[in-house]
Symmetry: C2
Subunit: 307 residues, 2 copies
């Protein structure tokens, strides 16, 4: 197969776009597509100060690379979750993120959860009542809270995450099959800033995982290959498997599924879930001052204070 | 396992209801559940004249049996679609339906599509441009049109179909993954009558397929076992397979999925799809007088007039 643009040997066949691209034109296309998504949803501008959540994986390092090439000013933040049992997962991820930043002279803040709050994510998980289960819900809570806090404390205009189309389609699938109305009302590529919450944007939301992987590969970006050891057997991974089958049967399925949702959202679907956090979170945490759902400590402070 | 009510040997374990029932109490429970659904959605009353779409399968014959036992007055209508190539599918189905009605002294109208309109469903499918494909869309159109016409012409208060929870969950899954907003706004167990359209109700919508199958078996109802030969490899069957896996992993998944949708619908999700047919269908078919989307013949009359 030949590159649609230059007729050289194609590196990737993007069937859903009816496009084949070589190893030169595919990375260019990725930059253009990312810029298009940023503009389409008015995510952020070149004169704004951005904070990117960097995990050391293919998605966040590829996005950081593209933002840098496109002339956006994004600092990185790496949360060391302390997930290392036997796998050195967090350790390796952190090393990859730091090497990437050093090579390009980019700013990376490393926040060691255990050093700062006394416990790693697995330790927090083990201490709570559901300690026999995986610490994924605690991990999600900690990441959301600390990324938002870092953005607010650092005076950033927006926080970016590198969730790709496969991630978004899997979240959507889960939210739809469980009718999580609050999430269904707000699973948008751009969430504007509200009191106590930084603006959030997902510039990779319309790009397939195989595209971000190919970008990292073709640009010689060294990233952590392994998944989080707690991801094995997770519902998110299972949903991705279902969606992969649907994609196999119908090219472009995930793209249609996710963009169809965005159109439905714009047409007024899920109005009950579109309440902004201010409506829901009318209290202030007595420890950190963040908006919360009830009087007293917020869920993050309850989790770490129990220690 | 013992029956939760009488402690005799259980015939069926209804895990999602945390209930085990014997061969006497399970059919009783099915009647109660059906009555509960009829009341919950104010579907119809005992003094109304009802028309049930009877296919000769386990669902429609079980529903007819239960309605009869509950004291509702439902006549049956069997549409002979002429799907018989090698399988005698329509032929056998019709015989099952007629034998059932005769045993109970119930009224069954048999409408032979080919005798009335000159062509069987496979012949209609073969004639249209997409004749190389399965005739499922033509079949759906013909059934919807003729059932509605039979209800209106016969002065019936409502038309009933025996779609079960597995059917409804699979429709919903398909409508959600493709964001079919018009269907998503109207996939309700009860659709009230509107100009030109009879009231439609689905009293089995909250019962699993394995429950309707068990009911038919325990009541010695002879029904056609085979699926329509065109159903093999259909998207509806494929969706059912996905949902069966989700049900295996999470007991009661389909029930939660479908009732969650009904709650979302009541909370105002999918407002764009909730337009009544009158809003959309402002014209009248120049042949049959049915409301249509555009001037001239309705889709049914276009299909059969081309012959």
């Amino acid at each position: 197969m030949k590159c649609t643009i230059c007729n050289q040997k194609a590196a990737l066949h993007l069937e859903h776009h009816n496009l084949a691209l070589c190893s030169d034109h595919f990375p260019e296309w990725m930059c253009k597509q990312t810029e298009r998504t940023i503009q389409k949803y008015s995510m952020f501008r070149r004169d704004e100060k951005l904070l990117l959540a960097v995990s050391g994986g293919k998605d966040s390092l590829s996005l950081w690379d593209i933002l840098w090439k496109l002339g956006y000013h994004a600092d990185g933040i790496y949360l060391d979750l302390g997930i290392d049992q036997g796998t050195r997962y967090s350790c390796t991820s952190g090393e990859m993120a730091q090497a990437f930043a050093a090579q390009r002279g980019l700013n990376l803040t490393v926040l060691d959860i255990r050093a700062k709050y006394g416990e790693s994510i697995p330790e927090m998980g083990a201490r709570t009542k559901r300690g026999h289960q995986k610490p994924c819900s605690q991990c999600g809570l900690v990441k959301r809270y600390l990324l938002n806090k870092a953005a607010l404390d650092g005076g950033y205009d927006a926080i970016l995450t590198a969730h790709n189309l496969d991630d978004e389609a899997a979240f959507l699938f889960s939210n739809l099959t469980h009718w999580s109305m609050q999430y269904l009302g707000r699973q948008h590529p751009l969430l504007p800033a509200t009191t106590g919450f930084a603006r959030k944007a997902k510039p990779f939301c319309l790009l397939y995982e195989r595209e971000t992987t190919a970008y990292a590969y073709l640009n010689n970006i060294a990233y952590v290959y392994s998944e989080c050891p707690y991801a094995t057997g997770s519902k998110q991974l299972r949903n991705k498997t279902y969606l992969n089958r649907l994609e196999d049967e119908q090219i472009g399925f995930k793209y249609q599924f996710y963009t169809g949702y965005l159109r439905a959202l714009e047409a007024g679907a899920f109005p009950a879930g579109q309440e902004t956090p201010e409506v829901l979170e009318q209290y202030r945490c007595t420890n950190c001052g963040q908006p919360t759902l009830s009087d007293g400590l917020c869920t993050f402070c309850r989790l770490v204070k129990k220690n």
